[in-house]
């Protein structure tokens, strides 16, 4: 791991690879820090193209064409392309290469304009499906107990948090009024 450039190591550690550009999905502020009360660096109109540098919770670090860097709310962005999807997976010399290619077979460009001939599970497949109880038995044999889940969380440094469920949103009419 120490031979990897720092940026790549950080990318692999986070499991993400951002070599993307994105567009603002609405007018939004470019802020100096990843928090809502941070100072504003610039106001970005809708459909501003930005380069995505990193993500942190609700925030995405971006750079504008004008060279300004800062943070915008992640949900104020939409992807322009998403070529990043499989790039986190294949690592050279990785013994898991076979599985990676299995997982990504049939996968193609994620850009909206490309339609591939590859077809996923379809309505027809479901309508003609016959029960496969043997496969269900197999699936049940992989199911995991509480202790194994807890051990996974411990070694992953995941601690349970108290977070309340979100309330139901306002009615559609109210939402339309406050949006624009």
């Amino acid at each position: 791991m120490k031979y990897l450039p720092l940026a790549l190591a950080a990318m692999l550690a986070s499991g993400m690879a951002y070599a993307e550009s994105a567009l603002t999905s609405r007018a939004t502020d470019l802020q100096s820090h990843a928090q809502s009360d941070a100072s504003s660096v610039a106001s970005l109109p809708e459909n501003t193209r930005v380069e995505v540098i990193a993500r942190k919770g609700a925030w995405t670090q971006v750079k504008t064409a004008a060279g300004q860097s800062g943070w915008v709310r992640m949900l104020a962005l939409k992807q322009e392309n998403s070529a990043a999807a499989p790039s986190a997976a294949p690592v050279s010399g990785n013994p898991l290469g076979a599985l990676n290619s299995l997982l990504s077979s049939g996968r193609t460009s994620n850009t909206a304009t490309v339609t591939t001939g590859v077809r996923g599970l379809s309505e027809e497949d479901l309508q003609h499906a016959q029960a496969n109880p043997a496969e269900l038995n197999k699936a049940q044999r992989f199911s995991t107990d509480r202790n194994a889940a807890q051990a996974f969380a411990d070694r992953s440094k995941l601690s349970p948090l108290k977070v309340d469920y979100l309330p139901e949103p306002q009615t559609a009419a109210t939402r339309n009024m406050e949006g624009s």
């Binding site: 499991g15 939409k78 986190a88 990785n94 995991t144 194994a148 889940a149 349970p160």
Partner: protein, 291 residues
Amino acid sequence: MRHIVKAIVGLTFAATAVTASAQLPFSLPGLGKIGDKLGGINIGNTVSNLTKASREPDESEEVHIGQEFAATLLGAKPLVADPALQRYVNTLGRWLALQTERPDLPWTFGVLDDAGFNAFATPGGYIFVTRGLLARMRSEAELAGVLAHEIGHVLKKHHLRAVQKNAGMALLGDFVIAANKGGNTEARNALMNVGRKLYASGLDKEDEFEADRLGVVIAARAGYDAFGLPSVLQTLQAQNPGDGEFSLLFKTHPAPSARIDMLDRLMQDRFDSLPASQGQPLTVRLGEFRK
């Protein structure tokens, strides 16, 4: 009309021909409609127990119905033949499910061998994602978000409710009996038909929005970045709905932009102070689970 007549004829025939448990129907028009919905199949002795039918299925009955649906989904696409991958998804899924009010269902997670991008839940806690979905996850937090959305469907019994709504309580009661005893072939077939239609046509939009609201919170409770699920929705937003790998998902779910808008309004700063783990890359996890 022809269907109704056929159903009634079939029904009457079945009622006289089958066992003592079969009774004459109480409400022919209603039953005719059910028969029609199920494609005109003979449901004669599936309408035999209207009193039992008027109550909610208990947990073990819910699980049995879920097993029937899960077996059908697995009949459409089998599991990816990789025990380490299946154990990993089960462990992650179970950790998420432990953060909910139904931690002790027989939670079972699986990766279907399908290039498409989709995820399914059945009553009782059987949850599947496709390998095409897994391949497009940019972090474990994204996968956690997807699994947590499906867990949300199970918590709120969305599929069970949809079966009740589409097939009627009477039929559901008989499904329950059939699922428990495995004896009534016709009721069981009827149940599977309803399941096939349900998974091909999808849930109500409101159920999907509710599962999104639950999913981001469940992922956050488990220590993951709550924005994993919204991030997946952004990936979807960039897709062509006509692409064969995505078409079923687009057909059965509200538009990604509507789902993102709702979460954007509700999430705001609420999750900003949480640790928000991205988790580990899939390659690392598979290394762990292969040991």
